[in-house]
Subunit: 564 residues, 2 copies
């Protein structure tokens, strides 16, 4: 099998090297000057016309090859022939090996492992749905898959929210969207929004257009904040339409071209991506409407069917990540209101140009209940961590129940538990201990626990489901390097007699409550899913020994990685 | 193929559920009391005797299944039959897709991507060899593969160091050792030392013993710091020997059992793992010698051949990670001398019990030239980042040339360049920009660049090979979340006229110099290797445009992950 794959790849590469001379998707050909270092994209062709479609059809073979490569049909190591340093290729990476099997006792799972309580995820989703109903909100929920990157977990959240409340899923990268669509876990016709600008390289634009065309009826949308990005997208879909036309001429069963929805990102305070003013938002929306019309005319000239839009302006994204962790609920509510006011101004400016704004999307775990309040500007919200929880969000005073109904002044993790239930854990094993130093060392270092938003909390008790030891006597987690986590236990005399927990023995399996949900998942290749972790409703505690529970499923974190 | 694999697995699982009732590798059965929560390991059997070997042989089938699972012969998702939430399995994860192909122009590689200049890696290795020769040191070098987790890069460093200077490679986890041995990239008979305690779970111990037995002539060693860990290891190798005996009886061509080398870890100041006193080191070394003798007798009783040791006490590990980043070279030298003095005391205590100490291993990128100095206690040193470089190590005053010969008072990255050459980079693309805010946003967020030891440095110039912009006018990198890096450009007036670099256009491809080498590699699934990055010798600068260079090879980061 391997040999044949390599042979096929070598044949494909040699044919590709010829076809690559054809300029397929010029970048930056309109509007801004191309950067002088990009020597390889010198040839330009007009865009949005029948000529463009014809030129694109000529390049179709080259792009088919590129997309095949992008979809993983590359041989794993194409360097064997070319490289003097090439060694026998290792087909087995650790990522290929699941750390557990269904039915296995959780306490026996190889550590470090990422555990997710599916019951807790579903309870959190249902709790969110109930809160939105109680608010009388019509806003829909688009759970953010960047939090976990697991298609099966995306499906779980959608199902628990229900079809009337869930609008689809968010991806933060093109690669995440590809993994979600490819997996099949979301069923036929998932609605996937890439809530981020995609760098307008030739390869990424071709992949984006191909995803819209070739996946099983996706309703794909993406965010832009520049004319460069908008035009690159328009060029890519025009080229894709031309290829579709050529395919349809040869084969009536060729898949149709689906339109790509485009949202304009507006900076509502985060100072990251997004246009800065309502006017800029309106201008970019107008450009998208123009590009949409020209893509329709390109499609009409290329395909013997009524013109259809290949690019559709869908609305605005107004997300402010920086306010999600404002601790006091009333402060966070006020910050969300300021962001919503900026979003409203942008909506008004776009509408003033005669364009409809069907979607206004934004809001994260910290603000989504404020953003979704009845009468607000947001038509949908994008929580991700909310379904899983982490120690950082646990320090937030809950948005709901409202501050007046309690919550202030309590321990951070108790607050979290009153709002949502912790569902994601890291299982780790004690590998060394020292009574003299008051330390235990666990096998979860900075490659196993995300430390960017503070350390994880350590749970010594096997039966609690709240996010840390009661009474504050638990050990502190200190970064011990790549593969070590150092647990610092309270010294005698620093806590009341009897309150200091004993240092666990070598071999003991403990749980950590992750510090930051999203990068925590991203460190792992597999999620070990289970049910029955206790803690029904929104309350904490109450479970049995988690280690006796069986593994329910082991899922690949299919979109893991630095993104692309 | 997939269906058959799943069917086979289901058959294997049903046979396993019966055989799993046999206690294979009891944990914590001697010395320390087992923790009361470990209900599943209640049955005990004597260790280090023929009875143990016989009992272990009975459990061999169960452990074979476990090891098969550990080696990746599991179907990717065994939950399909068991789980009510199971969805169609996604066989393609992003990790399976290489981001580039050999021969491709580096500037066209899909971003974010991890690039490694193989020439620079080899120059760094040869520079280290030359420095050690100049010192008259006999210490050997065991490059640490935890830095990169790529078997092919481990091979590259060994080859450049030369057989007379390189003693083997370090792994930090059992899984890393498995990936190194499995890949074949290190050739036949690699010497792999796991420089860390392995948590004594049944599964890990069985894998460790199996690795020694089944891999192609590895010289495997591992570190321990507790009697629990030592005994668990002895039990595992005794069981493995019994299985080997049974196999040899049935098939004369069955692979022989290789001994596992064991080193005692001594705490020389890091306060992480390791025994705390010379006496404890000596006691543990004596226990290992006893266990070694009993493993020899177990082997003799089980196999019709001369008794051989299955466990061998090899020496001490004395590593202090905390002093690697002491900035001033003279301070770092003094700290290294203190750690070496503690190591010498431990060596003396072990020798006083009549045991030889053939190996004393330790030393990292920051201290290895001090540790390896002639007449020192260390027989080998373990640098890893040294071959690749990062922004944190670049802030160290170089160990060599000695401080008296210059280096102090210069800019951090220039210091690094004078000692070693930066070889690892992240390629990233501008996806958004704002003149109003003075920012560019690149597609490398906290899932693409390790931030635990400070941000990466941003290189705007495509021709420099030093680790940052000259003159300090380059942009600062700020964490923008999962998938965004925000580059803050100097505002007009804050730098001399003309010195402020222009904000690059959307689509521009830049390089980042990683903040911390090891977790940086761990975020990626593939290394994009190239040659010809310029900067011969130890100097900086001087290269052409890196984006025009061709990809040399694309290697899987085979041991990527949280470790196991």
């Amino acid at each position: 099998m391997r040999n044949r794959a390599i042979r096929d790849a070598l044949v494909r590469m040699s044919s590709m090297s010829a076809s690559m001379a054809v300029p397929a998707l010029p970048r930056g050909s309109i509007g801004r000057s191309a950067h002088p270092h990009h020597h390889h994209h010198r040839h330009r062709r007009p865009v949005g016309t029948a000529a463009a479609a014809a030129a694109a059809a000529a390049a179709a073979a080259a792009r088919r090859d590129m997309r095949a490569a992008a979809r993983g049909h590359h041989p794993p190591n194409t360097s064997a022939a070319a490289s003097s340093t090439a060694a026998p290729y290792a087909s087995s990476a650790l990522a290929d090996t699941p750390p557990a099997r269904a039915g296995q006792r959780l306490g026996d799972v190889d550590t470090p492992a990422l555990l997710v309580d599916l019951d807790a995820v579903e309870r959190n989703a249902k709790r969110l749905r109930a809160e939105l109903e109680a608010l009388g909100s019509t806003a829909r929920v688009r759970p953010h898959a960047k939090a976990h990157k697991v298609p099966e977990l995306a499906f779980l959240t959608l199902r628990a929210l229900g079809a009337s409340r869930a609008s689809g899923v968010c991806a933060q990268k093109l690669g995440e969207a590809e993994a979600l669509v490819r997996s099949g876990a979301l069923g036929e016709g998932p609605d996937v929004c890439i809530t981020n600008e995609v760098a307008p390289s030739r390869g990424k634009m071709a992949r984006l257009a191909a995803l819209a065309r070739h996946a099983s009826r996706p309703r794909l949308s993406v965010v832009v904040d520049s004319a460069v990005g908008a035009r690159a997208l328009a060029e890519a879909v025009a080229a894709e339409a031309a290829e579709a036309a050529a395919a349809a001429a040869a084969d009536a069963a060729a898949p149709p071209v689906h339109p790509i929805g485009v949202l304009v990102e507006v900076n509502v305070g985060q100072d990251r991506c997004g246009v800065d003013t309502p006017d800029e938002a309106a201008e970019l929306a107008e450009l998208l409407a123009e590009l949409s019309a020209s893509s329709a005319s390109a499609a009409a000239s290329a395909v013997a069917s009524p013109p259809r839009r290949l690019l559709e302006f869908r609305g605005l994204q107004c997300y402010h990540g920086g306010i999600q962790h404002v601790r006091r609920a009333s402060d966070r509510r006020d910050a969300a209101a300021r962001a919503a006011a900026l979003a409203s101004e942008a909506v008004a400016a776009v509408r003033a140009r005669g364009l409809e704004v069907p979607v206004v999307t934004g809001g994260g775990t910290g603000t989504c209940l404020f953003d979704a309040a009845a009468g607000g500007v947001f038509t949908e919200v994008q929580p991700g961590s909310l379904f899983f929880g982490d120690a950082d969000y646990a320090r937030n005073e809950p948005s709901w129940p409202p501050p007046a109904r309690g919550g202030a002044g309590e321990d951070g993790d108790v607050r979290w538990e009153r709002a949502w239930q912790q569902a994601a854990w890291v299982a780790t094993t004690v590998m060394s201990r020292s009574e003299a130093r008051g330390t235990a060392v666990v096998d979860a270092g900075l490659k196993a626990v995300a430390l960017d938003s503070g350390p994880p909390r350590v749970l010594l008790s096997p039966t609690t489901t709240t996010g840390g030891e009661e009474g504050g006597a638990g050990p502190e987690f200190r970064n011990g390097g790549d593969e070590h986590g150092v647990l610092l236990f309270p010294r005698a005399g620093t806590v009341p007699a009897g309150a200091a927990p004993p240092i666990p023995p070598v071999g003991e399996v403990l749980r950590l409550m992750p510090g930051h949900c999203d990068p925590q998942f991203n460190l792992y290749d597999w999620v070990v899913a289970y049910r029955g972790g206790g803690g029904g409703g929104g309350g904490g505690g109450g479970g049995g020994d988690w280690r006796a529970l069986p593994v329910e499923a082991v899922w690949r974190i299919a979109a893991r990685g630095p993104g692309s």
